[in-house]
Every structure is written in C-alpha cells, then in structure tokens.
Amino acid sequence: MKFAGKTDNYAATQNACNLCSPLGAALVFKGVSNCVPLLHGSQGCSTYIRRYMISHFKEPMDIACSNFGEHTAIFGGGANIKLAIDNIRSQYSPELIGIATTCLSETIGDDVPMFIRSYKEECEDKENLPALVHVSTPSYQGTHMQGFHGAVRALVETLAEAAETGDKPLLNLFPGMVSPSDLRLLKEIAADFGMEPVLIPDYSDTLNGPLWTEYQRIPEGGTTIEAIKSTGGAAASLECGMILAGEPETAGTWLDKKFSVPAHRIGLPIGIRETDKMMDILAEVSGNPIPDKYLGQRGRLLDAMVDGHKHLNGVKAALFGEEDLVAGLAAFCSEIGVIPALCATGGGAGRFEKTIKSVVPERIHRKMEIMEDVDFVTIEKALEKTGVDLLIGHSKGYAMSRRLKTPLLRVGFPVHDRVNGSRTLHLGYRGAQQLFDRIVNKIIEIKQDRSDVGYTYM
C-alpha cells in the first residue's frame, strides 16, 4: 500500500517514479507459456501499457482488452469479458488467459471471479477451456510492483497442485521484476545445481527472442502451466526481494502454508553478499556443492573490485526506481565503496528506509538520504542540496540528470532511451561484474572528460 502523504507535503505528483499496477500484472502474464494477458477495462489501458513495455523490451507485446464503452462503465463489464475471452480463444487458442483489472472495472465494482465462474459454467467445450487466472489490480492502489507480485501469487494460487517430484528436485524461483538476461542467468544457476527451476514469471524468451522463421501465434517461451502446477511439489521456493520479504502473503508464503514448500526469502541477488546467500541456499536445498564455475566468477569479480576500488572509493551515487532494485543496488554500492547518498523510490511499502539501512554499514547512514513514495521533483530537489557523482536508475531520471549535469547509468525498468534495456544483467556474480565495470568506467570517463589535458592513463 502506498502512503497518502508525500515528502514536502505536496498533494500532487510531478514526474512519477512508479507505474501503475496492471502493467506489472501484464508483464508477469507475458512470462507464462502460451498465455494472452487480458486487461478488463478501457482499451487505452492495454494500449498504453503495451506501448510502454514495448519501448523497453522492443518485442511483440500482445495484451488484449475487454474494451469498455460508456455503456459498459454504467452497466458492468460481464458481457465484455466473456466476449473478449471468446475472441481471444478463436484467434490465439491460448492455454491461459491472465486477467488483470483496471481502475475502471474496479471503481464500478465488477465481480471478475464471478464472471469467470459463469463463463466456465456456460462454456460448451470445457475440455478446450484455457486456464483463467484473475488478479485484482486497481491502479489507485500501490505501484506496478503490487500488480507484478499479485499476478505471480494469483498464478500459483489458481494453478498449483500437490505434485510428485520427478528425478530432479524442483526449485520455485520468484525472481521479481528483473531483465530477461537476469532470468536466463537464474535458470542457468539453478540447473548448474542440478535442480529443475520453475521461474514465475519467465519472459526471458517471450520478451527477448530471436527473429522468427515461422509464424508464432504467441511468442514461444515462458513457464508452462504444467510447471506452475508442479510448484506445489517443489523442494523449495526462492523468493527475491528484500521489500517483498516483508509482505505477509506472497506466492512463496502461500506455497509454504498450503503445500509445505519451504520459502527462502532473500533480496535480489545483486552484488557479493546477496549472491553468496543465494548460492548457500541453493547448495543446501540441492545437496550439491557450489559449482566451480561460480567460484571462478566470484573470484574474478573480487579481483576486479580490488583493481577498481581506487576509482570508486568515496564516490557518491543516487539510486532510484522500484524498491527492491534500489535495495539491491544499495547493498552492492556499499560493497564496492560507493556511498548510496540518496536512495529513492516511488513505491510505498513502508519498509524502505529500514531495509536500506540494514544493507549499508551504519557509519554511512548519516551520509544518506532515504526517500519513499516520492516523485522526481522531490528527488531532484534533494539532489540539488546533496550533490552526487552518479545517478543509477531508469530512463525517467534523464531529465534530472541533464539539469543536474550528473551522468545517469541506466538499470531496471523502463529503459527506453538505450537499446539494451532487456539485456542488462543485474543479478549474480556476472551481473555484479557488469554493473561494477559500468560504474567504474563511467567514473573514469567523467574524470577524463573533465581533464584539460586529456590523459589516457587515469
């Protein structure tokens, strides 16, 4: 839940640092195999959300809509949702339709679970009926992250079964809102531990796929329904996000309660400590030692940190974006000598300050400003006073970066003014290595650019 009060007592939001909840839900549904997301509301919502996510992922982004008109807004959207499901089925034959609501259908109080029940009852070819998963995502509650985690939970709650485990132990992975490259990395790590990962969501192929050699009704990839069903029989769940870890009810906690699948809740594995934690858990859950490959990666990362530390010590950075990403980045920054002088988020879970403080050494706390539920105008005002060397966050920080003449290193979502938004790696030792290299190089570049002489050895 977002807090109503804003820093500086502003009532309105200028240049928001968060997006709306149906976007997060639609993104999760894009990570399920053979699934069509359906927004229950005005067509503008699906159009805006499609165009917005496409500007980041640069991939097909089909999201259907129940196309409310004025009449629907008055009399309810029951007929529309049924017609929409019919038409989606005839065009795309999906195995799952992920239905997220919007502020329109929520404000008029549409009972979507009831619509779904009656659709199922009236359906004539029940054996071909796709799974229908519903999540409530009014955009006046929370941010895109509530929509994201809500949809993950809805998928599990609707589909998970008490399943027999196969040869390989299953690992449920709830990665949070990370990049397709991050998702691929997590799958690789789980497999290297000899486990079968069930990643929810997994849009690593659907939103970062190759050109097609044949027509694909729905882009290939994503977690299969069978896999989601099997989450009830997994050896363990790994749920990423320190802020998320404070939520009492998530996909992970639900599986724990319902099917006794132990939930391991860690932060996003950004940097050494959180990745170490993940490796430890995976070793324990799988019963296998940490593969040499990762020891090598970790070793090389530390070696690079030793080499580059001279450039970073005392560098001040401002971090902004979704709560869990900022928390992960703050932890990482404090490992490499960068002071996370300002940590800001548009989210408002109420746990941000405490979480950030828990990952940064206490002696640095007095040099930090931590801001929750803020917009860019508030962030920029704070930065005018604080002054940092580097901004780390998404593309919406560009205007601020330009005015403050402080470079912006793009991470997270949305990144629509660079081409690699979906390929940026944040997680694991390899992600840390890439982030580290980018940060150090940026600092060297600034020094170099500001030098009157033009040294090539810095």
């Binding site: 919502c45 259907a64 004025e70 502020c103 006046y140």
Partner: protein, 554 residues
C-alpha cells in the same frame, strides 16, 4: 450510396496476383459469425467509380472486445495528441498514476521554447493527481485543487488544463467547477476536459473534446491583429520529429505568416489569437476539423485541406494557399521557392528510386497519415497494397461528401457538439462570395476533403481498425516489403523479417514533411527495405531456407 457500392464491388479486381475478396473471406472465416459480420464492413476492397465514388466502409465503431487493436482511448486523444504538444500549458492528469505516466512525452512532439518570450516549456513534466483509494472513495476534487495550486505556485504558468481519466467520471468529480473556481482564484486560464478513457470508440473522441475545449476556453481571447502578410493557421500538424519546423521554414521562405499551429510547436497565446488568421489549412483532417469548422462559423475564417507529406504534395499545397490569397507577389514567390527546393529533392529521389521501385507497402496508421504517406511512396515508385486508419471516420476514407450519410451511433452521440453562432462583432468573412465562387469554378475546394479511398487503386484493401491478428495474416499472405504502423505493431512485424516504419513517432527520425523531409524519408525507406540484416536470417548451415516463406493462413 449503398446501392452504388454494391455495383462497384461486383467487378473482379486483383491485388498482387491474388483475389482480394478471397483473402478477405479467408481472414473473416476465422471469426465467430457475429464478429465476422461486423469486421466485414470494416474490410473493404477498393473500387473507385465515377465522381470518385467508393464502396462504403464502416468506421469509427467500437472495437470488438478481445480483438487486439491499435487504438488508444479518449484521454490519449485529448491530452496526448491535441494538447500534449503545447509547451506552455501545464497539463494535469486527474486520475491514478498510469495514464499520466504513459503519456509523458511519449509522442516525440518537438517544440522550440525560445520562440515565446517567457521560454516556458512544461512538456518534459508529468503532472498527476496520482489518485489513491481515499480519493476514489471520498472524491478527488480537493486533491485536484491542491494540484492546481501547487502547479501554479511552482511554475506560474499562463494556463493550466485538467484531463479526466476513467475513474473521475465514475466517482462524479466535477472538474469543470474546480477549474472555474481555481481560474477565479489564481487569475490565470484554468480549464478542464471530460475525456474519460471509456468515452467514444478511440482517441478520436478525445480529439473532438479537445477541439471543443480549446475553442470554448481559449480561441478568441486575443483580438490583436499581428503583423504579417498572408496570415494562416496550420491545423492538425503535431511536429513529430520536427515536421512543423520544416513547414515553418518553407512558409517563412514564401512570406506566409503562421498565426498558430494546432498544435505542434505551439503556445497558448497563439491559440488565443488564431481567429485573426485569414485561412485555416488542415493537415490531419480527423483530429482537428472541428476547430476549423467552428472558427469559420463564428469568425468567418474559411478552411482548406493541405498536405505537406510528399514533395509534390507540398508544392501543390503551397500553390493552393497562394491561389487563395490570389496575389501575384505570393504566387510568384511560391513558384520561386518550389523551383529552388525541388531539384535537390528530385535528385535524392532519383538516386534512391532504382532500389525502391516496385516495392510493396502497407499502411495502417492515424486518421490521415495512411493517406498522406502514400504520396511519398508514390514518389519512390512503391505500391500501396493495403491501408487503413486507426481512428478515422467514414469521411476520412470516402471523403466529406458522405457526411450526410453517416449514422451517428450511441458512442459518438455522447461526445458534445458545440452549438456555434456567428460572433456579432467579430465575424468577418475573409473572402467575398463572388471571389469564392470564382475560385470554386476554377476547381478550388473549400471545406472539403476527398478522403483516402478515391486516390487508391482498385483492388487495394482498405481496412479500418486493423487488429494484431489480422496484421499477422496480411503479413503471411502478402509478405509486403514494408509495413507502416506504430510501435505496438513494429516488433511483431519485424519478427517476420519485414521492416516496419513507425509513422506515429517516426522511429526516432524525421522530419518527413516538406521538401527536406521528403529527402529524409527517401533515405530512410531505402535503408529499411534494402537493409542487409534480413539476408542474415538464413544461416549458412540452414538446410531449409524456404521455411520462412511457407506460412499458411491457419
């Protein structure tokens, strides 16, 4: 009208060696009967008869739920399209955060803040009341007032506009009375738009609402007749990728004075003064014809349709403006400018054309662009197989001659039609009846637009409100050399190995209007249709290179 259409369509035509009727039947067969009946009327095989008569197309009708279309909502048309490009009005989105965020400078409208003395530019900002649970339950008027006050305190703008999103209409916030109250309190122009997303069937409803609001609250506030000869307004030009800058350059060179542009590179002061112009020139007919009509009724400013997309269309439009004013000085100057500009354009075209000649394009965009851009493709020797609008009405397809025949459905009836009367003091017919008759006799068309279909070849498929699924089918069947649409279609089409040119946002390029724009466009299309990248889709070890070409319509 319907009778005539029937006769026209009985004659067989072909398209790319295929029977377009058969293609249509194959696509329609996939739909449930009721949906197929509706879509059939929006999917028309062109056949131009005598006097430019074309088959009837059903347009501006609600999209069937579950068909993934291209359309946006009423709010998008009002805030995003029409008012978005005006730099010195603070636009506050009244609603939850999504709508404001997604329309935050996403349309690539360019602007030049230096061209107004105060240098105001709020386009890089996104103001929202960011409604929460509390406002949905108890009402959002109080927060809206605070938001207006804060925007005023922080920026001291000349004007503030408020845009309503879906929940606002449902919970019954009276944005107009809030705006009136704040206008009085702050002493600046504050006005609201009831452009809730569920109104109308597409962004077109929002255009209309925006036109009404600007006309009601802004046009006519400043009667000063500013200096300059041949004073015109350019309507329906949104300065995507700098189009308006190029048109301004040409007008300047010709000695034509632009009073206001609706709304690329615009300022609210220019809107307030725009009724003092002597001619309205319309680019995008769909989004802005309402303002032109109202300005003529109230102030006596006539309007003509122009098109600055395509070098020859540009020349033609300039000549049309010169003909209207009828002064030899302007006529000569326009000819001089055309003679000066065209050689460079023609040289660029001649260089590119051998590589574009005969290529086939499809265009599904806008309410005018699918029509206008056929000019540029014509100049490149390219053929338009199929075209359609995202939010056009029948008059945009078939021409304004069908206006009396258009049935107004419930969705359109809900959009307010302002009743405009002659202004008792300020009405001033810019042109005498005799002169008007004389021009018309010479073939000059006032207040008219012939539409897209009469200019398209027989057999071309004209499809309104194309869906994503239909896009896939067209791609599979025709494999065009180029597809033109927007960002939502772009990456799906390109997955098939076919380049897509975005004609909403121009793919980070532009300008494409005017003479210099045409040159940019030729090079851009050359780059796209002749890119080496598609060749690499077939790897050297690929034993089945034809796989990509074996799609069947399933």
């Amino acid at each position: 009208m319907a009778e005539a259409a029937k006769d026209l369509s009985t004659e067989k035509v072909t398209l790319d060696n295929l029977d377009p009727e058969e293609v249509k039947a194959r696509i329609m067969a996939k739909y449930p009967p009721k949906v197929a009946r509706k879509r059939s009327k929006q999917f028309v095989i062109n056949k131009v008869g005598e006097d430019g008569k074309t088959p009837v197309i059903n347009a501006n009708v609600r999209t069937v739920p579950g068909l993934m279309g291209q359309r946006g909502c009423c709010y998008a048309g009002c805030k995003g399209v029409v008012l978005g490009p005006t730099r010195d009005i603070i636009n506050i989105t009244h609603g939850p955060i999504g709508c404001g965020f997604y329309s935050w400078l996403t349309r690539r409208n360019q602007t030049d803040p230096e061209s107004t003395p105060d240098g105001h530019n709020f386009m890089t900002y996104c103001f929202s009341t960011d409604m929460q649970d509390e406002e949905i339950i108890f009402g959002g008027e109080k927060k809206l007032k605070q938001a207006i006050q804060e925007a005023y305190d922080n920026f001291k703008p000349k004007a503030i506009a408020v845009f309503s999103t879906c929940p606002v209409g449902l919970i019954g916030d009276d944005v107009h009375s809030v705006c009136r109250e704040m206008k009085e309190k702050l002493g600046i122009n504050v006005f609201g738009f009831s452009c809730e997303g569920y109104k109308g069937v597409s962004q077109s409803a929002g255009h209309h609402i925006a036109n009404n609001g600007i006309f009601k609250h802004v046009v006519g506030l400043d009667d000063t007749i500013k200096e300059g000869k041949y004073r015109i307004n350019l309507l329906g030009e949104y300065n995507i990728g700098g189009d308006a800058f190029e048109i301004e350059r040409i007008f300047d060179k010709c000695g034509i004075t632009q009073v206001a542009t609706y709304s690329g590179n615009s300022s609210i002061d220019a809107f307030a003064n725009s009724h003092t112009a002597d001619l309205n020139c319309i680019m995008c007919h769909r989004s802005i014809n309402y303002v032109a009509e109202m300005m003529e009724t109230k102030f006596g400013v006539p309007w003509i349709k122009v098109n600055f997309i395509g070098a020859h269309a540009t020349a033609k439009s300039l000549r049309k403006i010169a003909q209207y004013f009828g002064e030899q000085e302007l006529i000569d100057k326009v000819e001089e400018v055309i003679a000066e500009e065209l050689p460079e354009v023609e040289a660029a075209c001649a260089e590119v054309r051998p590589r574009t000649e005969g290529k086939r394009a499809m265009l599904f965009v806008g309410g005018s662009r699918a029509h206008h851009y056929q000019e540029l493709f014509g100049e490149l020797g390219m053929k338009t197989l199929s075209a359609g609008y995202e939010f056009g009405h029948r008059d945009d397809y078939e021409g304004r001659k069908v206006l009396p025949d258009i049935k107004v459905d419930a969705d359109s009836r809900n959009i307010e039609e302002l009743t405009i009367e002659k202004d008792p003091e300020r009405f001033n017919p810019r042109i005498s009846e005799e002169r008007k008759a004389e021009l018309e006799k010479a073939g000059f068309a006032f207040n008219d637009y012939d539409g897209m279909m009469p200019e398209m070849p027989d057999g071309a498929m004209v499809i309104d409100d194309l869906s994503q699924w239909e896009t896939d089918q067209l791609i599979k069947i025709f494999k065009p050399d180029l597809f033109c649409a927007g960002i939502k279609e772009k990456y799906t089409v390109q997955k098939h190995g076919i380049p897509l040119k975005q004609l909403h946002s121009y793919d980070y390029g532009g300008p494409y209007a005017g003479f210099k724009g045409a040159i940019n466009f030729y090079h851009e299309i050359d780059r796209m249709v002749n890119s080496r990248v598609w060749e690499y889709m077939k790897a050297p070890w690929d034993k089945n290179p034809e796989l990509a070409a074996t799609y069947a319509c399933d």
